[in-house]
Symmetry: C2
Subunit: 319 residues, 2 copies
């Protein structure tokens, strides 16, 4: 097996590096969930992480790795989602400038969230080309270091730290579930789990309506052309080159989840556990409740990836 772009040692180093900044999020349990799944389920609540998602871990690690010269020039990304806020906040805490390229049709609340963390927000045309052109221009103008939301080795290493904390707190697990979008969280989780609990299963959960990872890993070739139609807005991104390599090399196991299952799981967690999770997080809860993964008698860890959800949109989902 070729050497992976991210090692266990990198995850371990990331955990040290981000410890002063991240919140050690609580692990929650729920009698209702345990009964429904006939399992012992531990939820790692990254919805309660700073900036509302696990993305803060990776962003924080990436910013911490900058050289003095790089720090002076700042960081750059394009995102209208959780990574934008995470990088903005991580940069702010490290006293580094963050440039965030956002589609001009992004909701004002996303723009102001990044600005509130001190980021410079730059509008771009709401197309792939528009984003790339604008990001390239800003990179040339500022010399800022581009930090991908999921395909940066330091970001991937940072995401792996959530699973480390989970295992440190609850001990052995038979199975860990994580959502898959760009693949950063699943990659980091796999790398951590293969070291910490090599016999534990790790299953990536992907919306059937954005199944590029599922199809790509079956075919052994990354799918880049696809039109995601899922409500799980955090999982509309295709796998990156690095995350595809990692998931492929580590023989990641994936399961698909329907839109109706996502809504039902999200509602179940809100109502029974009294915490807000975003649709992307519900994707990793759904297989447990729908029975598409048999968890009976197992100790299961679930990475609740984030809680940034528009309440109006949630109301329409729950109709």
């Amino acid at each position: 097996m070729a050497r992976l772009p991210v090692t266990w040692e990198a995850v371990e180093a990331a955990a040290q590096c981000i410890a002063p900044y991240v919140r050690q999020t609580p692990v929650m349990t729920s009698r209702s969930v345990d009964d429904a799944a006939r399992a012992e389920v531990f939820f790692k609540c990254e919805n309660l992480q700073r900036t509302g998602s696990f993305k803060f871990r990776g962003a924080c690690n990436a910013v911490a790795q900058l050289s003095e010269a790089e720090r002076a020039r700042g960081v750059l990304t394009h995102s209208s989602g959780n990574h934008a806020q995470a990088l903005a906040r991580a940069a702010q805490l490290h006293r580094v400038v963050a440039h965030v390229v956002m589609p001009e049709d992004a909701p004002e609340v996303k723009r102001s969230a990044a600005r509130d963390f001190g980021a410079r927000v730059i509008d771009c045309a709401p197309t792939h080309d528009g984003r790339v052109e604008t990001a390239t221009r800003v990179e040339e103008e500022t010399g800022a270091r581009f930090i991908s939301a999921h395909d940066d080795p330091h970001v991937i290493a940072g995401q792996g730290t959530a699973a480390c904390e989970l295992v440190a707190e609850v001990g052995p697990l038979d199975l860990v579930l994580a959502p898959v979008g760009g693949g950063g969280l699943l990659s980091g989780t796999l790398i951590a789990m293969r070291h910490l609990l090599p016999t534990a299963e790790v299953i990536g959960c992907e919306p059937a309506a954005a199944d590029d990872a599922y199809r790509g890993l079956r075919a052994g070739e990354r799918v880049t052309e696809f039109v995601p139609r899922t409500i799980a807005d955090g999982l509309r991104t295709p796998l990156g080159e690095r995350t595809f390599d990692i998931l492929h090399s580590l023989a990641a196991d994936l399961v698909l989840v329907s839109e109706a299952e996502i809504v039902a799981a999200m509602r179940f967690v809100w109502e029974r556990m009294k915490i807000l999770i975003e649709p992307s997080s519900a994707v990793a809860v759904a297989p447990l409740l729908s029975g598409s993964i048999d968890c009976a008698g197992k100790r299961v860890g679930i990475l609740l990836s984030g809680g940034n959800v528009d309440l109006g949109a949630a109301l329409r989902l729950f109709g």
Copy 2:
């Protein structure tokens, strides 16, 4: 001062007694809230308590105090709210039968929640007289012990344990805020705080649209005739005789909160803290955010009383 119906020793004993059954709920903090209130705020998350509210503490303590003969005859209450579920679950855990009298127009979800915990649910006419008549009949038929939702000394002592845990975890506080409906939580909290931190302020927060406690304590006489119109459904009950006496004797301080402030506070907590709280809990957060209590520079504890909220109704409030 006359001897109160509930002592610090009773609260201390309750804490021991219910420890094997209650969840030691987490204490959460939020940068957003601290910034908004210019204070250091600690949220005791009883919305994450078993059965979704602090009521489980009091119910559990009341059931634990039964004699063998009383256990054999069971417990009884009338409630369509959090106390119904709490008593049903506490009785189930103690292998005691629970009879719950509920208005026939109560939502089916409330009825099935109590039944799921093994309670026998008895319908009554949706009036005060209907409730009393039916409860009296069931009491006569079964010999079950009636457990008031807020005016039972063991219930009040149990409710005081939430503040004890909060202080044990975070240390000194300058101010504690709790919602007021029937007054059980505020009474228990006052008794605990006067012993643990006698110089800390304790302020009860009441909807202006259900201000019986505010008016009654000012007048020195309990208000029993009033029509509450608040969305905080847990706070529509008037003070009981015992809770009125306790709050009056301990010179409880109260603040009123408007309906708009309740909705705004609830939304703030959902969106920023990613946890679900019911409108009654938001009543104790509102004065902090609206500025009606000056918290600047203080260490503030807030008892988030519960998270049992109908999602459809809540999301419509945020409309």
